[in-house]
């Protein structure tokens, strides 16, 4: 007789999900299921819409990562209309994208997955949240976080219209230039953001690295899955967010593929399961071997940790130093423990803040020309960027009037679903095997998926 335990809903992430645990007569785990009971059908209902409206429609896939959808979508329009933005237009897009990466990682650190460690792994369920973090870290620190995050979102409202849903993206650039009189305020926000991230770095040392449980778990087998990793890189293989080549490395770190995003369909394949609305992706060349890891399995990961694994370093000094520290302590070679995603996000927050500061100081930022009008129309366009949760691909086909004929979207968490299932299963086997179905075991199982910062509405769209 199988006993079934259901965690419904999974919490402190974006979207709907539930975990089912099947237990045998002796209380041993037979199997886990990570189900996403939600689906909206964007790929179908975008058909017939004008192409130029897509950045404002597809961003509604996700209110947590709308800026990433807006950027991937407008880059697909650049390709479709064969037009590249002028320097200031591209700079504004990059600045808003990095500002978004930063504030979204802060959201995970203080509201979503971070409280699992920051409020204490065994904190009572009503304390394991943002308000538990407020109690543990104190009001002053949290007020600083909230103020800087609000100002970073206001910076994005200034650049793009709304702190939440940017609207400025058009093929060939953006709709609005940065006024010279706003430059000082923008630069001040970027400086203060960097200052805050250095505080977060100190918090990470104190509350994560000095936490005995976290230190133990980050290096043990229970949260570890050895998968391939994918992320955007520059020609020197350093992490990129706005543009670059997609690089895939094997579990041992060897490069197995490096390709331009418009060839994504040659490398990535999706499988359909009937018990959930999410599809499972895998690397086409390696193949699908079921829910298993290792070099023979085509399961790969994206997002913060995978980006670091797929790269050789960072482009900014503070982020590079933190990158080296992470691999020095947990490496060498790719890090496979899912709980290291928390640390990888810190590396990326440093990168985002450093780059924001650099961009805010560029003279071109306030140039009045932010857009070029298109002169051609191609039958299809593909856009890519790195969202906080991983690689995001928008692919549109249009008719001769630039009306959408077909859409394919490969969204960050969609790449990660198989790895998330695998990580949840591994943690469940380990912790239920040790403790039986205890509150602590269930909490560890939840830490396994939260480390990925999943966005389940995105994953099914």
């Amino acid at each position: 007789m199988t006993r079934r335990i259901c965690i419904d809903p999974v919490t402190r992430l974006e979207g709907h999900g539930r975990i089912e645990l099947f237990l045998d007569d002796d209380g041993g785990l037979k199997r886990t299921l990570f189900q996403i009971p939600d689906f909206r059908g964007f790929e179908a209902f975008c058909v017939g819409r004008p192409a130029e409206e897509m950045p404002r429609i597809t961003q509604k896939i996700c209110g947590v990562c709308p800026t990433a959808h807006h950027i991937a979508s407008v880059k697909a329009l650049d390709a479709l209309f064969g037009v590249e933005p002028p320097p200031a237009g591209r700079m504004i897009r990059e600045l808003m994208h990095l500002a978004f990466i930063l504030e979204d990682h802060l959201l995970h650190f203080f509201f979503l997955g971070g409280p699992d460690i920051l409020a204490g792994p065994d904190a009572a369920p009503d304390q394991r949240n943002f308000w538990g973090v407020v109690r543990r870290l104190g009001r002053e620190m949290i007020q600083k976080v909230l103020t800087v995050r609000r100002r970073v979102r206001e910076l994005n409202a200034l650049l793009s219209g709304s702190p939440l849903y940017p609207v400025c993206g058009l093929p060939g650039g953006v709709s609005l230039a940065v006024r010279p009189e706003n430059r000082d305020a923008i630069a001040a926000t970027c400086r203060d953001a960097l200052d805050l991230v250095r505080d977060v770095q100190r918090l990470f040392d104190r509350y994560f690295l000095e936490d005995a449980d976290y230190r133990r778990w980050i290096e043990d087998e229970r949260f570890r899955v050895r998968t391939h990793a994918m992320g955007l890189v520059d020609p020197a293989n350093r992490v990129q967010f706005y543009d670059g080549a997609l690089r895939v490395v094997a579990p041992n770190g060897d490069e197995t593929a490096r390709f331009s995003a418009d060839r994504y369909a040659d490398y990535l394949e999706e499988r359909v399961e009937t018990w959930t609305y999410h599809k499972r992706l895998h690397l086409k060349s390696v193949g699908w071997r079921g829910l298993t890891d290792g070099p023979e399995s085509g399961i790969y990961r994206v997002g913060a940790l995978a980006r670091l694994n797929a790269a050789s370093g960072m482009t900014t000094p503070l982020a590079q130093a933190e990158f080296e520290r992470l691999f020095e302590i947990l490496g060498p070679g790719p890090i496979h423990n899912a709980l290291a995603y928390h640390w990888a996000r810190l590396v990326e927050m440093l990168h985002a803040a450093e780059e924001m500061k650099r961009l805010s100081e560029q003279p071109e930022l306030t140039e009045p020309t932010v857009r070029r009008l298109p002169e051609t129309l191609n039958p299809s366009g593909i856009g890519v960027c790195e969202a906080p949760r991983g690689t995001l691909i928008h692919h549109y086909e249009v008719d001769g009037d630039a009306m959408i004929r077909s859409v394919n979207l490969i969204v960050a968490t969609q790449h990660n679903t198989a790895a998330i299932e695998l990580t949840v299963d591994r943690a469940a086997r380990a912790f239920i095997g040790e403790d039986g179905v205890s509150k602590e075991a269930l909490s560890r199982i939840e830490m396994a998926y939260r480390a990925y910062d999943p966005c389940l509405a995105c994953a099914t769209h």
Partner: protein, 328 residues
């Protein structure tokens, strides 16, 4: 008064998402510096994005125990409808939070097609899908000898009040932080109005538009320009530039944030008054703006309007389509 007693007297509030995107949750988190004080004002008993309460915790509450629930997202699955009914039974006031709950939102565009097409497109036709047997998500699947159920999509996407009675509406995709602050404060203080009300402005966006002084008396558009073709003037009324802007037929209260970014309105706050069919208002507005000397001119102007259905019903198709009676 003991702390425990104080705890018990705080009003219970809840926040929940149905078919949505998490943006409305972000609009609450955008209250930023005010958030740490929320627990001293109210006891938040359910909020999946932020708190570890489960459906079972919600089910265990007495009926009408929650003072006010903010529900965002539309109804896309049978499970969303069940959750909406559960929240209704546990709550004294229900606030439809954001455009998807209010009018169906962008997701309502799915009602231009059918459920089979939605599923087929994603699970069979997508160029990256390897699915030769054309399987799709199913209501029941046997997994290791156990039946696993998966909620079914509803035949059409629905706004919240097509499934449960709603007391108040907070329009916007998303509502502004200022609207959220006022609504949460009223919910906690028990000062929500006694009648159904849309908690935003009662006048059109045009009235509060920073470009209102550049709107011409008479608009005679012979050909609507599309956004990719036009270099938009950052000061002048979009309609005067031949670009569709839904400001004249859209409820104000959004702080004209798209206009501020030099992009025209797409109507996320819905129509004015209690009009659930803003499409007709938009259409007559657009018709009145078409210029020309004769029927051919008008026909040409009408033809230049790209995707009229997806434009006038960008956010409100689900609400507009409703023909049945609402549940009491």
């Amino acid at each position: 008064m003991s702390w425990k007693r104080l705890f018990k007297t705080r009003p219970k509030i809840a926040l929940c998402w149905l078919s949505g995107c998490g943006g409305c949750e972000e609009s609450v988190i955008d209250l930023a510096e005010e958030l740490p004080d929320l627990p001293s004002e109210a006891s938040v008993v359910f909020w999946p994005v932020a708190l570890d309460f489960r459906v079972a915790d919600l089910e265990a509450l007495p009926d009408r125990a929650i003072a006010a629930v903010f529900i965002n997202g539309a109804i896309r699955t049978e499970e969303h409808a069940r959750m909406a009914r559960l929240l209704r039974s546990k709550s004294r006031r229900v606030i439809a939070h954001g455009t998807c709950a209010h009018l169906g939102g962008v997701l309502g565009l799915a009602n231009l097609t059918d459920v089979d097409t939605l599923l087929r497109t994603a699970f069979v036709q997508a160029p990256t899908v390897a699915n030769p047997s054309e399987t799709r998500p199913a209501a029941e699947t046997l997994v290791d000898g156990e039946t696993v159920t998966l909620t079914k999509l509803t035949p059409r996407l629905m706004a919240l009040d097509q499934v449960i009675p709603v007391d108040h509406y907070l329009p916007g995709c998303p509502p502004t932080p200022d609207m959220m602050r006022k609504a949460i404060t009223a919910a906690v203080a028990g000062t929500l109005p006694n009648m159904p009300v849309v908690m935003a402005e009662e006048t059109a966006l045009c009235r509060s538009c920073p470009r209102r002084n550049t709107r011409p008396e008479k608009i005679g558009i012979k050909r609507f320009r599309r956004l990719h073709e036009a270099m938009c003037d950052p000061e002048r009324c979009f309609l005067d530039q031949g670009l569709v802007c839904l400001g004249p037929a859209t409820r104000g209260g959004c702080a004209a944030r798209c206009i501020a970014a030099n992009m025209p309105c797409r109507g996320c706050f819905g129509g004015l008054g209690d009009d659930k069919e803003p499409g007709a208002a938009v259409l007559s507005l657009l018709a009145a703006m078409m210029g020309g000397e004769n029927a051919d001119d008008i026909r040409a102007a009408a033809r230049s309007l790209a995707d009229p259905a997806g434009l006038i019903y960008r956010y409100g198709l689900a609400a507009a389509q409703w023909t049945g009676s609402r549940e009491k």
